[in-house]
């Protein structure tokens, strides 16, 4: 009984940490641009695919190198996506084109994956061996997932508070007009925020490839749960994702164990609807923080 609860909690936190990282990647882009990049889920899967192709059953050295390259590669892809997403917004009145363009990019990426690889889920060998915690066998990738979440949380914290560019990106989300008046290079900063979000999901996707279903239609599940994690924590709050992500993960695991794995997404949907109906600003959300 207790061990079952422990398994649920541990796996829930592990999978939730993936959602948390995706949520943090949402936050940085949203803060700088007011855009939610719907394609994040598929970019995450791309990271997993890269692990399958570049680092399946290889030594630690090559694995690490491929990890870095994947991160940078997906950062570049997402930065490019950011560029084309922001382009119509420069002058147009139609301020919701980003919604459609991010959805189309997501569909395109999924389609490309499907075409080149077919619809089957691939399995990736883990570089970190599984280990025992409290009598249960836990895949090593779970530990990596949690480590990645913690790493990115602190890395972002440092970046956004100590480096000039990070401070500038943070300033964009605090007072957009004042940032422009101060001469901050807005477009460039926005592209950088896209790139960073790509770096985050690309590396995490690579790291957890062994435990996720690396298939072309898995992306939707991750963007859904990532979004719910962001909303629960409060859009814009990375500290919130640390709670929101694991929460969503535990709910998913609980549902999987108690009701059935196929109901996980339904559970996430219900969490989303409940939070939006009763506390739309989430746990730590700023209510109307932007002064525009």
């Amino acid at each position: 009984m207790l061990s079952e609860i422990l398994i649920i909690v541990i796996r829930g936190i592990a999978i939730g940490s993936i959602f948390a990282t995706i949520a943090m990647s949402f936050n940085i882009v949203h803060g700088a641009t007011n855009i939610f990049n719907f394609a994040q889920g598929n970019m995450f899967i791309l990271g997993g695919f890269a692990a399958y192709f570049l680092a399946n059953q290889v030594g630690l050295g090559q694995w690490s190198l491929m990890l870095l390259l994947t991160g940078l590669g997906i950062a570049a892809v997402v930065a490019f996506q950011g560029y084309i997403t922001l382009l119509p917004l420069r002058s147009s009145v139609e301020q919701d084109s980003w919604l459609i363009s991010t959805v189309s990019v997501s569909v395109i990426v999924a389609a490309l994956l499907m075409i080149t690889q077919g619809p089957f889920a691939y399995s990736v060998q883990s570089v970190v061996p599984s280990f025992r915690i409290l009598g249960t066998r836990t895949p090593g990738a779970y530990a990596l997932a949690i480590a990645a979440m913690i790493f990115w949380f602190f890395a972002l914290r440092f970046f956004l508070r100590k480096t000039f560019i990070g401070l500038a990106i943070s300033a964009l989300s605090q007072d957009f007009d004042a940032a422009r008046a101060a001469g901050l290079p807005v477009r460039r900063l926005q592209l950088i925020s896209f790139a960073i979000s790509g770096l985050m999901v690309g590396t995490v996707g690579f790291l957890v490839a062994p435990v996720i279903s690396v298939s072309p239609d898995a992306g939707l599940k991750y963007v859904l749960n990532g979004f719910v994690a962001a909303v629960v924590g409060g859009i814009g709050s990375n500290a919130g994702t640390l709670i929101g992500g694991p929460l969503v993960g535990v709910v998913a695991m609980l549902t999987a164990y108690k009701v059935g794995g196929a109901y996980q997404d339904l559970a996430s949907l219900l969490v989303l609807v409940l939070i939006l109906m009763f506390r739309p600003q989430g746990l730590f959300g700023r209510v109307g923080a932007r002064r525009v």
Binding site: A111, I115, Y263, V273
Partner: protein, 600 residues
């Protein structure tokens, strides 16, 4: 009897010499649409090719679904990525009832449509709280979850195996080699298109549109945005549900794989690529997004998702108006309708309104009263212990610096904001806790700092929404006025109007609404000197000739002093002075507001 002082500059124009084009090509598009649907509906039957018959039947069903998506997305402003799930819900429930439980097809269909409506209501609930991306996300998640549930609840749904269904009564040829189903599938999209057109031209359609574009303006016209959203979802659900019912005998098989998120994307992408909001848009959209990849390029079916995505991305970047929308834009540019910037000429109309009426002075009855009203936003006190008395038929000026609380007070009076303490009355009725639309229905009207003029509606329609908002029977005067305006401005565009003209349109909207109390929020901002003079005359006209009570929040002190019967001065949320203009002008507490000397 002297005619009203001129409200406008420039000569009253003679009849337009250029023949006016239609404001929008909606009706033309409907006819073209019907023709295209007839081609896809009847063409294959006439050609006698059963493959094409079958394929195009599905096309027509999708066209109908896309039409409802279009209506939901543009006319009602609701971003739903889950319409595919609604279609699937209806199809599956009907399949279960008919195929697994032996119900009659008619009964099963009813069941399916009821299920679709319930599904739509489930979408509508979050739509009350969130909009935009959040709503899109909720509906998208539902569309992802739906096929999963279909698989797991296999006890009821037969799971992955799906349900096979035949409905011979529908699929056997009856007349001209066409089965009832074929006829229904050919005709239903036409009905859908016609319904969309009729709804758009109805009061409901206009109200939904205004609620989508400006919930504030909608409230001030007595429209409840929440109700509009619900209604839109219900209508779309019924329509999409019928599509699901038609799907069943057409494909003769339902399975979870047939109703995944991709279907919802198809409808949405079709609307965007075709041209959102355009009548013909969904049809062209489906032709391009669905027919092209699925039928003409059938060998590349795995590429169809890729094609959807690329086409839509291309459309949103290069042709944001979609194909039909871009064509419509060119047409509208060439056939510029309306007389341009100063097209809204109303001197003549106002003279008619005034004919034979006596000038009315303000009475001593109180129209609007605020007692000890306080409004706080968190810690910030916007309005502090304010007392206000506005007499019937008077022009009451509310002045003060930015942040003095005058706009907050105005928002309280129109119901967009609630007092924390204190009360206020309208015509003796306690309105302190009334919702904005109820207050609007107590014959209050208001204008906004940025005039809420909707470019997608014709000039006359922009006025007509005022009439839509009227409570009770119309007075003879206003009916005549409306008729005259409709004749003059029915096909005109509101786009070219200058700002001052837009302001006028907003004011006349309240006249058509027969509002007896009108609130103006910084109406003179952006008006030229002569436009201000005309505006001042108009306000006097509303008050003296039409007996309306006018409350005016304004910065232009000359304007206010020129027309107000009473002036109230606010500073940091408090009333610092109130009374007749010449008295207030001399009040020392008010002096710092004037730059330079001021004549009383």
């Amino acid at each position: 009897m002297q005619t009203a002082t001129s409200i406008q500059t420039g000569p009253v124009s003679m009849a337009e010499t250029k023949p006016k084009g239609r404001f929008n090509s909606d009706l033309t598009q409907v006819w073209i649409g019907v023709a295209l649907i007839a081609i896809t509906g009847f063409g294959p039957v006439i050609a006698g090719n059963s493959y094409w018959i079958h394929t195009f039947q599905l096309v027509n069903i999708y066209i109908a679904a896309a039409i409802f998506q279009n209506m939901l997305f543009v006319d009602a402003g609701q971003k739903s990525f889950g319409q595919g799930a609604i279609l699937g819900l209806a199809a599956y429930v009907a399949a279960i009832l008919y195929g697994l439980h032996g119900w009659s097809f008619g009964g099963a269909s009813m069941g399916g449509i009821v299920a679709a409506i319930l599904g739509g209501l489930l979408f509508a609930l979050p739509a009350l709280r969130v909009q935009g991306f959040h709503l899109g996300f909720v509906t998208m998640s539902a569309a992802i979850v739906f096929p999963q549930l279909l698989v797991t609840l296999d006890k009821w749904t037969n799971g992955i195996n799906g349900i096979s269904v035949t409905v011979p009564a529908l699929t056997n040829p009856v007349v001209f080699g066409m089965s009832p189903l074929a006829i229904a599938v050919a005709v239903f999209p036409m009905i859908a298109l016609a319904s969309h057109y009729l709804i758009r031209r109805s009061k409901l359609g206009r109200s939904m549109f205004v609620a989508a574009l400006s919930p504030e303006a909608a409230r001030s016209l007595g429209i409840k945005p929440g109700v509009m959203r619900f209604t839109a979802f219900v209508i779309a659900s019924i329509g999409t549900g019928i599509c699901g019912i038609l799907y069943l005998p057409t494909v003769a098989f339902v399975s979870p794989q047939g109703f995944n998120i991709e279907l919802s994307f198809v409808f949405f992408f079709a609307v965007v690529v075709g041209g959102r909001g355009q009548m013909l848009g969904p049809i062209i959209g489906i032709w391009i997004v669905y027919i092209l990849p699925n039928i003409l390029l059938a060998g590349f079916v795995e590429y169809r998702l890729l094609m959807y995505g690329c086409l839509t991305l291309l459309a949103v970047m290069a042709f944001p108006d979609g194909i039909v929308g871009s064509v419509e834009r060119l047409r509208a540019k060439r056939k510029q309708t309306g007389g341009g910037e100063q097209a809204f000429r109303i001197d003549g109309f106002l003279a008619d309104l005034q004919a034979g009426k006596t000038v009315r002075e303000p009475s001593e009855e109180i129209a609007v009263e605020v007692r000890n009203g306080t409004k706080k936003f968190g810690e910030v006190v916007a309005v502090s212990a304010v007392d206000l008395k506005v007499r019937k038929g008077e022009v009451h000026g509310l002045i003060g610096a930015n942040g003095s609380g005058k706009t907050s007070l105005l928002n309280v009076l129109s119901g967009l904001s609630r007092l924390n303490t204190g009360s206020f009355m309208i015509n003796g009725v306690d309105a302190t806790n009334m919702a904005a639309d109820r207050i609007a229905n107590m014959s209050l009207g208001r204008t906004f700092q940025a005039p809420r003029i909707f470019s997608q509606l014709s000039l006359w329609d922009n006025l007509k929404i005022g009439m839509d908002a009227r409570v009770g029977p119309a007075s003879a005067d206003v009916t005549a006025l409306a008729k005259a305006m409709e004749e003059s401005f029915g096909q005109d565009s509101a786009n070219l109007l200058s700002h001052g003209q837009r302001r006028l349109v907003e004011v006349m909207r309240t006249v058509l609404k027969e509002a007896t109390i009108v609130l103006f929020d910084e109406p003179a901002a952006g008006l030229s000197q002569s436009e201000r003079t005309n505006f001042a005359n108009l306000v006097k006209f509303l008050s003296r000739q039409m007996g309306k009570t006018v409350i005016l929040v304004e910065h232009d002190l000359d304007l206010v002093w020129g027309i107000a019967d009473t002036i109230t001065v606010l500073e940091q949320g408090r009333v610092v002075s109130s009374g007749k203009p010449d008295v207030v002008a001399k009040d020392p507490a008010v002096q710092h507001m004037f730059v330079g000397s001021r004549h009383a």
